[in-house]
Structures are given as C-alpha cells and as structure tokens.
Amino acid sequence: MAAMTATGARTQYETIIGIEVHAQLRTASKMFCACPTAPPPDAADEPNTRVCPICMGMPGTLPTINRRAVELVMLTGLALDCRVETAAVRFERKNYFYPDLPKGYQISQYALPLTSNGSLEVPVPTEGGSVRIGITRAHLEEDTARLSHAGRGFSVVDFNRAGIPLMEIVTEPDLRSPAQARAYGETLRDILRYIGASNADMEAGSMRIEGNVSLRPMGDDRFGTKVEVKNLNSFRSLERAMEYEVARHAEALERGEPLRQETRGWDEGAGRTIVQRSKEEANDYRYFPEPDLPPLRPSQAWVADLRAQLPELPAARRERYETELGLSAYDAGVLTADVALAAYYDAVVEAGAAPKTAANWVTGEFSRLLNQRAADGLRADGVALAPGGLAELIAAVESGSVSGTNAKAVLGRTFASGESPLAVIEAEGLGQVSDAGLIGREVEAVLAEFTSQVAEYRSGKTQLYGFLVGQVMKRTAGRADARLVNDELRRRLDEGA
C-alpha cells in the first residue's frame, strides 16, 4: 500500500482516489419502457430503431419501472456488502438541457438510493496484498442517447441507448494509488459479470469509469483539490490517467501553483489529460423527487430472495479452490476469472472427478476447445458436453480404460456433440487394451515379423526399441496400454538375449 510519490519531490504526498462506475445493466428491455436493449441476434443496430414515444420523451408519456433492473442493482448492492433500502427508494429528476437527454431531465436517484454503505476487498497483486474499498452507493438511473459528430459542424443523435438501465457505483475516496484504482475496476468488473448484472465491457461502453484524484501532504487529513478524469476506455487508461494526474498534481504542488477543481478528459494517444469543464461551469441539477414514480418499497422477502440467489463471488471461490480443493493459485485464478468456466468445473468435481485432475482438464483441453469457438460467443455453459460426461471421461483415463491421447480425441468430438464419452469409446473401439495375454501375442507377432531389427537391437542398437513399440501400437490401433506393452516387450527382448 505504498503511496505514490512524485520523483524528485521533496514533500511526500498521499494519493487520494475515488472511482465512479457506470455499468449498463443486463436486461432485455429498457429502464422505463418496453424497447429492447439490444438489436435482434444477427441484426445490425441501425440508429433510432429501438425507440418508442416513452424513451423519446414524447408529450404525455410516463415511465414505468423495469423490475429486473431494480433487482440487478439490489443484487450488486448485496455483492458489495451494501445496505439495501427497503423503507422508501426514490427516483429523482436530474435536470439539464442537452440533445442526448430527450425529456430534459434524467431519471436517477439522489437522496434515497437503492443501496449504500458497502465495501469491496480488492486484491492488488502489484502491491502484494489487498485493500478494502468503501462503496458509498450503487443506484439506478437511465442512460442518455448517443451523440456523434457528423462533420460540417453538425451532431446527430441516436436514441437507441436512451433509457437503457444504468447503474452508478461510487466509492469512498479510499484508493491510494493508480494501481489500486485499476485493480478495483477489474475486481468490480469480475463481480458484475459473475452476478450477471452487466457485461461490464469497457471497450463496448457497457462499463464506464471516472476517477477523482487529489493529493495531500503525507499525514495531512484534509483533502486537496480534486480533479475528475473522464474518457477512460480501458483499465489501463484508468491507471495511466491516474498516474499522469498524480505526477501533474505533485509538480504543481511542489512549484506552489494552485490546482483547479475541474473535469479533465484522458487523451489516450497523447498520454495526457485535457481540461473539459471547470467547476464554475458546473450545473445545478435541481434534483427533486420524480412525481411520475411512487416511492419503491422493496420487501424484506424480495431482498432475502435475492441474497439467496447471489452466487459465490470470485474472491470466495478462489479462496475455496486453493484451500479446500488444493488447486494452485494459477489454476484457481484461471477458473474463477470466467464464471461459466468455474461453474462447469464445480459440476465436474461434483460429478466425482478429482479436483486437481479436473482442473487440469478444464483449464487445459476443455479451455483450448472453448477458445477455438470464443468468436461465436461460446461460453462453458453453452458447451454440449455435460459436466458429468467430462467427469466420466476423466474417470476412464484414471482407471486406465482409455489412453490420454484417445481421451483428448473423444473430448474433441463430444464437446460439440454432447454424446456420452463412454458410449463413443465403446462404439469406436477406443478403449484401452489391458489384456496382458493379447498384448503378449501382439508383441510376439512383432518380434516374429521384424527379426532383423530385433537382432540389431540385441546387438546394441537400442534406439530401435521405439520402432518396435510403435509397431505393437500400430497393430492395436493405439489402444494397447503403453505400460503393459513396455513391460512385455522388454521382458521378451531381454529373454531372448
């Protein structure tokens, strides 16, 4: 948890960072109307096609609340150890004029958010430990339309995004380094994906991050001048932008120059931030309770039900894999990074496979096959082969009834077909031959056929051993138990010597 210190600075400064995340929720329809949040599969997303009078703010329209969006925020709140409000959750109007805001106000939450006062344990590998970050609130609002500049001084508006449910998650100013900021973003992303709240894809815009940064002399308890940084397209940008700001602040403070409270944008190409808006231009949003929506009073039973639905979160799962199942930190990390993969793995173990062997298969051959089809959007939960099938296959390898090589081939086939691996082994005759008598007869036949090679071997050309093994395997179509072949061949070669 080392504080960032600007190089060459005489004073030691403490970095204070707070993060604001906006994540689009994974719902089928928009926040306050029935419009779909995404185009139909295989269809192009033409501008202004997923709109209706409500999300276009036409006169006389009224909002109605998307229950699933409320649930996903509550679920997130629970995952972040927040208090979920059940007394009175209010939506409020945030008023400002902009062409991306069809009603002239955004329906958001202000005084009484859905969830608040939580925390998140964030592992920071580069700092060799973890930090606990306070979560101020996670609330629900609607997204704005998308503005783009059409050239010739004109802008065009696409209202497909207008009204998509958006969750805002705000931290306390608890982060002490750009690395922590990045780690927080990544940890939060994993959680949002885990609980199915959001695709949390920064590049696709379904997760957007703003960082608030300030510096203060070490030991001081007052906050310095805060700068908000936007336009961060990746976790790497977040870290770089925070590093840039920390250095800029430290230099200014060293030179005794005043810092301005302002909003800055990150220029990825130039690797620096640029002023977007100063505090003097800040809006008075005139929040007031949304009269079109009566206060929401989520029942205790609803909250309890959601709490029960909450899946095991990545940190807990990683911990369980390492301590209870004895997996390496690496394997535990690979498995937990993908919730579908982890669930598949759990099911394979549940079906009786040994945890470590199962981990080798799931992170190995299984993941390789999965990655081949990643472009089609295939996730572990979409694989045709049931986890029980993979456990069956693993058991067959362990018991010696199928060779490792043949087992991989069987997995390759059943992965997409969903057939039972044992049935395929049976039907294709891929079962391993462990009949010592039969193997003995095949060895005998090879020795009889390749007498000159046998003679050369016995006269000291031992590298011919591999050739002889290969001939036995060829006669048994690769099914002979390699260990038995080895034993038998050596015994007979030595016998005749």
């Binding site: 006169p59 329209t61 106000y105 005139r286 007031f288 009269p291």
Partner: protein
C-alpha cells in the same frame, strides 16, 4: 329543449329506442360548432367527416343491440390529451387530430400514440368531435393563456369560461358536445364548470390514467369529465376510470358502478362545511347561492356540520411552489430538437433560447421560472421541501375532517365569470380563482362542481369534496342536490338562440 342541449342519459335512451341516430346527434353538435364555434373559439381541431363516419359505425352497432352506455355519444377532448395522428411508419393518419396543449411550441404536433382517455372513450363507443381550446399547458384560470386566443363564455360572450379547460366547459355549455374531458391540476375542471354552468369532476388522484395527458404538474394533474348532469358525469367517469399499468401513479382499485350510487337521497349523511372556504373577497352572490344550496341539502335530510381546515390559507402558496417546480421539469422536453416548434438555429444554445423563448407564452415562462427558482441550490429546502411538508399537513387535515363527515360542501370559485381581460394584468388576482379548488388537488381527493343557480345572470357552482376513491359519495350528494334544487335544466342563452 333542442337535441344538442340534452343529457347523455336522455339521448342514450333515444338512441337505444331508435328514436334518434348517432348521426343525428353528431350533426346536431356539428351544427352548433358551425354556428358558434369560431366565435366562442372552443375548438382547436376537429374532423366532421371522421366524426360522421364514426357515428354511422355506432348506428350499425346500436342496430346490432350493442348497449355500451356511451355508444354513439359525441364528445370532445381537451387539447391536452394526445390523439393518435401518425401511423407506425410515422406518416399522417387520416382523421388523426393534432395536439397543441394550447401552445405555439406544439403547433401542428401530431402524436404517434393515443392517450388512455382517447382509447377508453373510443372503446366505450364515443364519437370524437375534436380537440378543445385550453390555457397553454393547462396553466390558467380563464382560458386567456391559450396561444390560439381566448374562449368566450356561452352565458355572456364578453366573459371568460374559466380555465384551464375552458374550451371543454364552454363546448358542453353551448351544446357543441354531450361531454368533454378536462384536466384539473388546481381547479381546471371544477372552476370552468362553475363559470360555464355545467357539471365538472376531478376524480381522486390515481383514479384515471394520466397516460397521454401532456403533463403540467404530475403529482396534481387528474383527468375528469364535463357533462350537463351529475348522472352523465357518473357515466363518463365510469368509462374513464380504471387502473392503467402505463401510469405508475394509477391505482389498482375496483371501479364501482357510479350510476348505481345515485340514490337521490342524502338522508342521514353528515356533510361538512369548511368555514375557511368562505373567503374574504368572495362575491356576495356566489356566497348566497352556495349557502342556499347547503340549505337545500339540509332540507333534503343531510346533517350539515361546521368544520375547519385551518391550513387552507397555505394552499395557494404550496400549490404555486409544487406545481411550477414539476412544470419546470415537465416542460424541459420542449427544446426545439425532436418535435414541435423549432427556431431552427444552427447554434444549440441559441436554438434552445429562441425555440423556448418564441414557443412559450408569458404565463408558462413565469411558471417555469418560479419552479426553477424553487428547485435551485440553496432554495430547495426553503421552498420545495417546505411546500411538501405543508402538503402533508393539508392532506392530514382533510383526512381528519373526512373521518367525521361523509363529504364537504364549499363554493367552487369565489367569483362568477369575469370579463375577458379583467385579470390578465394581475397574476396573483388570477391565482385566487383557484383558492377553493387547489387544496383538493394538494390532498389528491375527488371533487365535483355542480350548478347551484345564478348570480347576476351568471352560473355559480357548488363544490362537493369526498374521501379518496369515494367518488360514489361525491356523485351521490351532487346528484341528490341536482334533483332537489331544480337547476338541472339550466342552459346557456345559446340553447334557445
């Protein structure tokens, strides 16, 4: 009495006995619109051909024995209800009427969808004649704030019909429609009903869907009918009321048979008279008519109880913070970007300023500024939050008093119809028109105005206020009064012109 001046109940029987046709009723209304419509300025849009075609379809249904109570009855919608005027491809729908909300900023606006009111009345078999004039965005008490000119009162054409639903009240009073819809945010149905000598009702907040009503103040707006009798009011309310999942503030409670509640008797009922409603500055003729009406109910067997609603005085101030605050946000969508009037300037800020500057009238701008101010940082707690606290107080007082009495009796408006232009220079004087009606909106209760005689030849209204969702009691008292008082056949001079 001419056909056009009769009640729905009367012409409904004539329709079902095949004595008249819907086409004849429609022609009778169209003839009145033709004769007086332009002069009174009651309609902003109408389509006679579409209405006649619908009437013929209704006649066919009547011949088939269809017994829907509003089948074949011509009506008008306040131009604050959107009427579908575009097909799915966005092309003009034949017979589709524009929706202006009485504003230049929506000149020629064609809605892509229908309001809940239009859908329900259409399903009930009503014949839509057109859209009635109103104060811009329902902001006003005289209908002089319409961008399309003032409406004249059929009782005295030099005077206002009241507002904001003045086109609807005047149309029903002038025999141009058998009923019309209005919206009531602070009295916009009851006050014009009073000044125009018709019945007008604001149901409980949440009783009728607000979907497709161009919003003024979302927590106060409620749709209701104008009719020529209390029985007609019960019929129309029955068609309009009911839960709508598209409006989150619409309440899912059963809709009783309102006509069945009209027993004609008030014997044994306790009716409260809140002393604060007989305000200083009230016209003596109005007070006399209302006091006489109370005596009529006493004579009919009701127990009249003096009650107190001490916070009544704070109603006006509370209303003029909450309503403009909500309006300031509701009207933000009219920004000259997607629909309605646009100044067409290339610069975004200039286009905002000019579109809204030219598009909105003076009263609308005044309220947007009031509301924006009340919500601004540093003023929010002192104004908006305080107003919400007073709102709770006013609500609690009503609830307490209504535990002890079955309904309340009060004047609807402190004055009769006043000359056009008389109060336009003094917004505060104009606001006082609603002193007796707006507390009912603040408390979300049902209220009706029923004609209770004339003062200097101009109609006076008696207001009956009831418990939340107890429209049946309000209608029962108003109907019993109407039967006992002998004003049921009161018609404007235009009915025998």
């Amino acid at each position: 009495m001419e056909l056009a001046d009769r009640t729905i109940s009367e012409v409904g029987s004539l329709l079902r006995s095949r004595t008249v046709t819907s086409r004849e009723l429609t022609e009778a209304c169209l003839a009145r619109i033709e004769r007086d419509g332009t002069r009174l300025n009651t309609f902003l849009a109408s389509d006679a051909a579409a209405a006649l075609a619908a009437a013929e379809a209704a006649d066919a249904a009547l011949a088939d024995g269809d017994e829907r109570p509003l089948l074949g009855i011509p009506y008008a919608l306040k131009d604050i209800f959107v009427t579908r005027a575009l097909d799915d491809a966005g092309d003009d729908l034949p017979g589709g009427l524009p929706t202006t909300a009485g504003s230049r900023i929506l000149a020629g606006y064609r809605s892509p969808y229908a309001s809940d009111a239009q859908e329900r009345l259409d399903a009930a078999g009503g014949i839509l004649l057109g859209k009635t004039n109103c104060d811009e965005f329902a902001m006003g008490s005289s209908n002089e704030n319409s961008a399309y000119g003032a409406v004249r009162n059929p009782w005295d054409e030099a005077t206002v019909p009241g507002g904001s639903s003045g086109g609807s009240s005047a149309a029903v009073a002038a025999g141009q429609a058998f009923f019309a819809t209005g919206t009531d945010t602070g009295g916009s149905i009851r006050q014009p009903a009073s000044l125009s000598g018709v019945v007008g009702m604001k149901p409980t907040y949440g009783r009728v869907s607000r979907y497709g009503m161009v919003a003024f103040a979302s927590s106060l707006d409620q749709c209701g009918p104008f009719t020529r009798s209390v029985r007609d009011c019960a019929l129309v309310l029955g068609a309009l009321a009911g839960h709508d999942p598209r409006d989150a503030t619409s309440v899912d409670v059963p809709v009783p048979d309102y006509a069945a509640a009209l027993t004609g008797s008030v014997r044994g009922l306790r009716l409260g008279v809140p002393r604060e409603y007989f305000v200083a500055g009230m016209e003596p003729g109005v007070e006399a008519a209302v006091r006489t009406a109370i005596d009529v109910l006493r004579d009919a067997g009701a127990e009249i109880v003096d009650v107190s609603l001490p916070s009544t005085d704070h109603g006006l101030a509370t209303y003029y913070i909450i309503a403009p605050a909500e309006a300031s946000a509701n009207l933000a969508r009219f920004d000259g970007v997607r629909y309605g009037y646009s100044a067409g300037d290339d610069d975004l800020l200039t286009n905002y300023l000019r579109s809204r500057g030219d598009g909105f009238g003076a009263e609308v701008k005044r309220r947007i500024m009031l509301g924006t101010y009340a919500l601004s940082a540093g003023y929010y707690d002192a104004y908006y939050v305080k107003a919400q606290q007073v709102r709770t107080l006013i609500k609690d007082e009503f609830d307490r008093v209504l535990k002890d009495v079955d309904a309340l009796l009060a004047p609807t408006s402190p004055s009769v119809a006043f000359p056009i232009g008389a109060k336009t220079d003094d917004p505060l004087l104009m606001y006082l028109n609603d002193a007796c009606t707006l507390p009912v909106n603040i408390a979300g209760l049902p209220g009706i105005s029923v004609p209770c005689g004339l003062s200097h030849g101009k109609p006076v209204g008696l207001q009956v206020i009831g418990r939340a969702f107890d429209e049946s009691m309000v209608l029962r008292v108003a109907d019993a009064y109407e039967r006992a008082a002998g004003f049921a056949d009161l018609r404007s001079p235009l009915s025998h012109a």
